[in-house]
């Protein structure tokens, strides 16, 4: 019966090789969690920053969960995409972070990575864009077998999340 509010925003991303980014995001929870209201996935606009290399989205996240257990605490998975001057989109990074479990305001920095691909693919990417993507994006938040991947670190996505817990103390979860 405990409730969790996640209210915040995806502020933006920085440190990516190119600007003009957008972000697809989603929240993954375990089976014990019920979404009462809010959208659990979405996509931001494409931001082409003029001044610095930080893309600002200020994309709101507002979720209200009810849960019957702690398992599967919500985690946020992100995919940062780049839209080039031709309007084509290519993947720039996968990332995921846990939604903080302590109440209050949190600033999160979610670092991202991207599959590297073979050298041919890298070469192709350099000239014609595109790039390797995960076949099953589940891998973003499930770690099994990920060690087989070669990845490159990409930039960071900055999030600001406000967490409100309710009735967790009733069930012996101190916050």
């Amino acid at each position: 019966m405990a409730e969790l509010h996640i209210i915040g925003q995806i502020v933006g991303a920085s440190g990516f090789p190119r600007s003009s980014l957008f972000c697809k995001w989603g929240v993954h929870t375990g089976g014990a969690w019920h979404l009462l209201s809010g959208l659990r996935e979405g996509q931001t606009q494409v931001d082409c920053p003029q001044a610095s290399d930080t893309a600002f989205w200020s994309h709101p996240i507002d979720l209200h969960y009810a849960t019957k257990g702690l398992q599967g605490w919500p985690k946020l998975h992100l995919q940062v995409w780049h839209q080039d001057s031709f309007g084509r989109c290519e993947l720039f990074g996968y990332g995921y972070c846990h939604v903080p479990s302590s109440p209050g305001h949190h600033r999160l920095r979610c670092v991202t990575w991207r599959p590297l691909g073979s050298w041919q693919e890298q070469l192709a990417q350099m000239f014609v864009g595109g790039g390797p993507q995960l076949r099953s994006p589940d891998v973003i938040y499930t770690g099994a077998d990920r060690y087989r991947l070669h990845t490159v670190a990409m930039g960071t996505v900055e999030l600001e999340l406000g967490i409100i817990l309710r009735h967790f103390d009733k069930h012996g979860v101190e916050s």
Binding site: G31, A32, S37, K68, Q71, P132, Q133, L134, G143, A144
Partner: protein, 1692 residues
Amino acid sequence: MASSDLREKMRKKRRALQETLGRVREDADTQVLVATDWEMSKDGERTAVQEPSGSEEQQVATLKQTLKAQRMKRRKKLVEDTPAETPPEAATGASEVERGPRAGESRTPVAAASSSRRSPRDLPPLPASSTLTLSEGPMKRRMVEKLKAARSKAESLLQQEALAEPASRLQGLRDRDPLTRFDTEADLGVRRRDDGAAPLVGRVTFREVAHRGWRRAEVDSGLPTAEEAYNFFTFNFDPEPLEEAAEQKKERRFVEDRGVEEEEEEGGGGGEEEAQVEDGGEGESGSEEEDKEEDAEGRSEGAPLVEDQQGELFIDETAQDFLEVKKAEYLGYHSRVQRESEVLFTPSLRTVPTSCKVPENMQPRYLEEEGLYVGERPPVSLANQNILENRILQQDEAKKWFGDDGRVLALTDPIKQSSTRPPLFNLEEDLDPALQTVYRKALKTRHASRYVAGLGETAGRCQLDVDVSGLIFSHHPLFSREHVLGVRLVQLYDQHLNRQHRNITGLLTDKLHGLRNAVRNITDLHGDRGLNVVMRQRIAEYRLEVRNTRRLRDVEQEKDRTLLKSTLKVWKEMKALREFQRFTNTAYKLHLRKQEVNQSRDEQDFEEEIQMELVELQGELEEEYQRKISQYRQQLEEWKAWRKKQKVSSKKKKKKKKKKEPNEGDKDDEDEDEQEEKDLGSEPPKPEPPERQELSLLEQQVREKAARIRRKPGEPILVPEVTLSGNITPNEQCPRGEFARREDVARRSLFVKVLYNDKEVSRTDRRPLGADFRVHFGQIFNLKIANWPESVRLQVFEASGSSSALLAEVFVPLPESTVLTGSAPPQELEFSSSQRVTFNHEGVGSDVPFSFEADGSNKLTLLTSGKLSCCVSWAVGENDIPLAPPTSQTPGGIHGALRQTDAIACIGASGLSDMKRLSKWAAESRLDPNDPSNVVLMQLLTVASSGEVQVPDYFRLEQLQEEFNFVTDEELQKSRRFRLLTLRSQEVVEFRNYKNVPAVEREVSEKVFQDYEKRLRDGEVVDTKEHLDPHRAVVAKYLKKIRESVMNRFLIAKHHFLLSDLVQEDEVPSIGVLGLNIFKLAEPKRPLKPRRKERKKVTAQNLADGNIKLLVNIIRAYDIPVRKPHPSKPAVASKSARSFTEAFVAAQSSQSALHGNDWPLNQVQVRPFVEVTFQRSVRQTTTADGPNPCWNEELELPFSAPNGDYSTSSLQSVKDEVFINIFDEMTFDITEDDRERGSTVHTRIEKHWLGSVKIPFSTIYLQSRIDGTFKVQSPPVLLGYSKERSLAGEGGYDSVLSLSEGSFVTLFITIQPQLIPGESVREKMKEMKFDSQEDERLLHAAEAFQRDAALRFPGRPCLTTVIDISGKAVFITRYVRPLSPPQELLDAFPNSPQEATELVARYVSLIPSLPDSVSFTSICDLWSTSDQFLALLAGDEEEHAVLLCCYFLAMGKKAWLIIGTAIPEGPTAYVLTYEQGRYLIWDPGRGQYYGQYDTFCPLQSVGCLINADNVWFNTQVYDAPMRMGFDVSRSKLWKPFFSRAFPNPGLSSVQPEELVYRRVDKVAAAELQDRIEKVLKEKIMEWRPRHPTRWNRYCTSTLRHFLPKLEQSRGRDVGDEHRLELQSMLGDYRISGFPLNVPFSELQPIVEAVYSTGVHNVEVSNVEFALAVYVHPYASNVLSVWVYLASLVRTR
């Protein structure tokens, strides 16, 4: 001699010395150079040098000092440099030398040092004793020379250096120096120190040292080393000798003298060597002089100190006082160790005995030995462990660190043994498919309707392989009779083979035998007595099983038998047929193979079987009997008990009634109680004893059955075999019919189209239909898939010649994503077609009855059918990657699997589901069964390996979730608050605008959900109360359902946003626009003709209650009915109705003549005002005068959206209407007292309704403004008013005006602020492609046509395809088809076609209108066919128009559908007819018609005309009906869709062939009439809460009689007569009233209409009301409702 010898020697020595000196000098030079270099670099470290003398702030102040100190140091360096070459011991000595002069330390070390300071290169010191006496003079001289040279050289060097120093800076600094505070301070400090006279001593000492150097040099070798010499001379502690030299000349002289004295004094103390030097060195004097000068300089500093004259000078020295250089402190290693050992504890390396570690008197306990799981510890070296243990043991509570086994407690090793990332050599190959990355090109997003959840990523990567291998007809129209039989034979044979293959009968027989044996064994083994309960139980079970098996076997046997029989029968028929027709068509042949059997054995078996069965049956029956008997006994007992009770009670009642029951039971069981049975109401039936079944009967039954279903004993076993070995009669020998058939067959060919998601993707080649009706295609189609697969269809086409026809459609089930090409089994899909085909040759046709019998009995009707064998599977790409779309895999699956990462790493994720591999892995890896991390796995394995426990079918995701749940699911579900929140977020209608949800559970009341639950519950139940008519209720439900389904269909489109939906952006003015604006500036200004400007649009989301206003601008009205003079005067005269009528008619006619004269003069014609009612708020204009008033007023009405929801969809579905009512304001003088007339005015104002205009809000919203002149809907009869047409005078305009009847009002209505209408959705719908069954080519043409039209005439509506009610695009002409109207309408006016036409139009207009935008919120225009329209009894203009057009066509008129715009509806559909040389425009919604040149025709523009054959687009310059021609044959004016280039393919109509009308239901109408009347009366009373409402019954009944007449005449031409009638009856009353006519849909609109007339507002005390309702039924439940409403005021 000796002296000469000595001299010789000396010379030699001198020479040697000279050499060395020269060498040394060079050496020194280089050293100096080196030193300076070093010094320069040292400059950088000035601060470090300064530090002792001052802090950094004083840096500047002390700079001078520092420089001096440096200079000094530099000189010192020369000293130091030399020792640098000496061993380190000497270095200490050297430092002491430096220090010596300052600290005044002992001199002895100096001597020692100086001796030891000699560089290795130096000559070894000569023995002093041998040389001293003899050769002092020349040697000395030489030495002095050398020294001089050395010194001069050094000096010059120094000077150079001094010059090299930045003099100016020095100068500046020096000038400033005295001013600084530090200086004075330093001076003070210096002075203080000087008191101790140490520096002086130092100075003196230095000199002494110098002297001693000399002395020693002489003592030691007679020669000073070059270094010493140099040092001596250059070691100057005075940094500023040159500057002060001049000043101190005089002093120096004096000091010199003194210095000499002192020198001498001290020198005297020194010893004789000095004296020798003095004495023997006359030549030296020069050098001595210099030497002295040096000394003097040194002393000149010392001297003033003594004399305390010049403070500055001391600074030079004092720098040394701040610094103290100390030796590095050092403590010996051993002592340190010793000291430390007192403090520190060093644990030993030795192993601690176990006894120390476990508690006393305990043996260590090893858990491993006891079989408990102990994890592996992390490896720690033994030494470290020992150290740790030793250390811990020293601690308090040391024992608690040790476990029972005497080892330090430790967790198991958390580090994996194997590396998590095993080396991957070939990355590409063994990568888990889940992890593979795909190189994806940077692609533009294709945002068509590709909203496919989950697919997005892999779109285009899927491939579906459709393998169409072939098809076999099981019936085809071209089958001959023989074929029919042949197919049947084959089918039966197949069935037979199938059964044989499965051999169920055999299996069951075997089972039966087995079971019987088992029973027999048990009984044999144990006999009868030894049976315990368990055994008995088992036997019973066996018996039951035997019984079941036997029954099953019998059934199967019977089937076998019948199959065989029917096979034979068919074969016989076939043979007969072949014989009869004398040719053979098929190659089928049936052979029967006989298997002989042993007769006697067979018989024995048969008999045995029967006996066996008999025995069993007997046993069963016996059992049954026993059971029944016991049941019977029990019942009997109960019955008896009941009867006893009954008897007791009946005795108490004195045995009221007694009656003997006939004795019917068994005598033995019944006893005398039976006699007293009573017949009472609740008596349980007396049980009957069961009967035993006859044994003989049983046997007979068994035998009969056996004969029926089993092979008779001795009969051979027949095995049928169908072969294709028969001969087919060649064509030439066939009769003509058959020949024709075969010809036909040969002509036919078949092909299969593959449709994916209803789009044809490919088709097979044509294959001829073989004589055996099998077609082999064997083609595989690879479909690359971008869209989510919805359906795969195969269409079988049959082609003969060039034409082809669709034979059948087969839907192929979509394969699971695991079904891959290669492994997928081919499927046989049956298809059939209901097409009727007949032939005149031998082919039997399809859907045609035929018979095999000669007499034609036993007819068969076969439909074309067959089997298509195909296979649809997902392709396998390279590297065996399935190209299937991802299954919606729950991520939890991976989650759960994660627990066994090891296992996954070992055997892969897929192996987890494979139990064998898993257990194998477990065995191989020797899992520790006690390891807690393996619990899950072990459990799984035990479950799997032991067969007893079933592996659960379900898969639990989070296994441990249950244990950690806070609450159960039910509780979570129960939470009202959560439910409310969820419902709100789901936008369920009831909760969509629920603003605040309580934070606490208990604050959410249960009532909140009542409505919602009720709605859910009532979803199916039709509520007849709300709707007066049950049929309407059903329709309403149906409408709702359609709406929901349509909503779902378009949900995707709603989520598809265009940029303009999200970004509101003002257009950047282009050059053209700017230019136009400039021209506008030049335009003449017309301030008196203001124009309306475009306002800024507001999106709906920023709105709130009260923000929106409806602006209604009432401009003017024409032709308002005028008052009739109150007939009070003639009424007096009237006595009889008859005469009155006549008189009145006469009077009226004369009256109209009179009007011109006296009316305008003496009486107000009418004083109209307009009242606007919207959402129950009312605004009115001022009152104007006359029948053509001009108000020009703006009224503001507030608007509130339903539920406060201002979203576009919600606004569009607002059903409210704006009522614009025109009233006449009447004033009555009610001043009762004539005397007051002069002073008071006492009047009563009454308003009389004259007419109204209704405009739905949705229209206003969608069009954003409504501007125009509207016809006022006025009642056919207005009591007390008349139309005065000719009154307005004469003139051209008037004549036009007079063509139209009724009044008109000019309005402008808009919404403030301007809302963006939901057109965006409509626009989007245009972009969206609908499913369509139309031909692709047609659709393309339609699109092109529309695009072209929009390009040439933007804004002119052009429709080619419309969306039908199931959401499919349909070509528009399919809607037009002649449909006959209800017969009674045609019969009504048999000889007047005009009348009939109008009646038909009226009928159509009586079907209630419901805009699509209201019913299908913001989705699109849906066109329903006419039968749907009549069933729904609701539709918008298009449906009305279509129906009317169809009726007109059926009535033989030339009719078209007009697509155009009208006011106030906006885009709409009208009907155009061509009659008697002129065009009439029909408004289908109102049932009125207008001529082409009618001014007040609401149709504003015409976009296109449509009839059943074609669509014409208006290509004329003007689109107003008045200014255009309607002759569609003129290609200049109209552009046809179907032309010669693209002829009409003969589109069939979507309309039904004929409409079926329901009968007129008069009873229901009457009932409805009563109900409406009742409701209205109640409502009127409700609206007049403060006044009594009286009903005038007499008037009501009169009105009621009158209403049917109105309906008959359709509300025309009865006014006067009726009025007179009324007038005559109610002469004493002033009546105002009118009949209203509305089509019936629901009650609410009627109530609303009545309310808007405001009749109830009359507040005169003596007012009476009359209300009559008449419902006229038409066919198909179309009802015309008339409400006659009148208010009566008694005039006297």
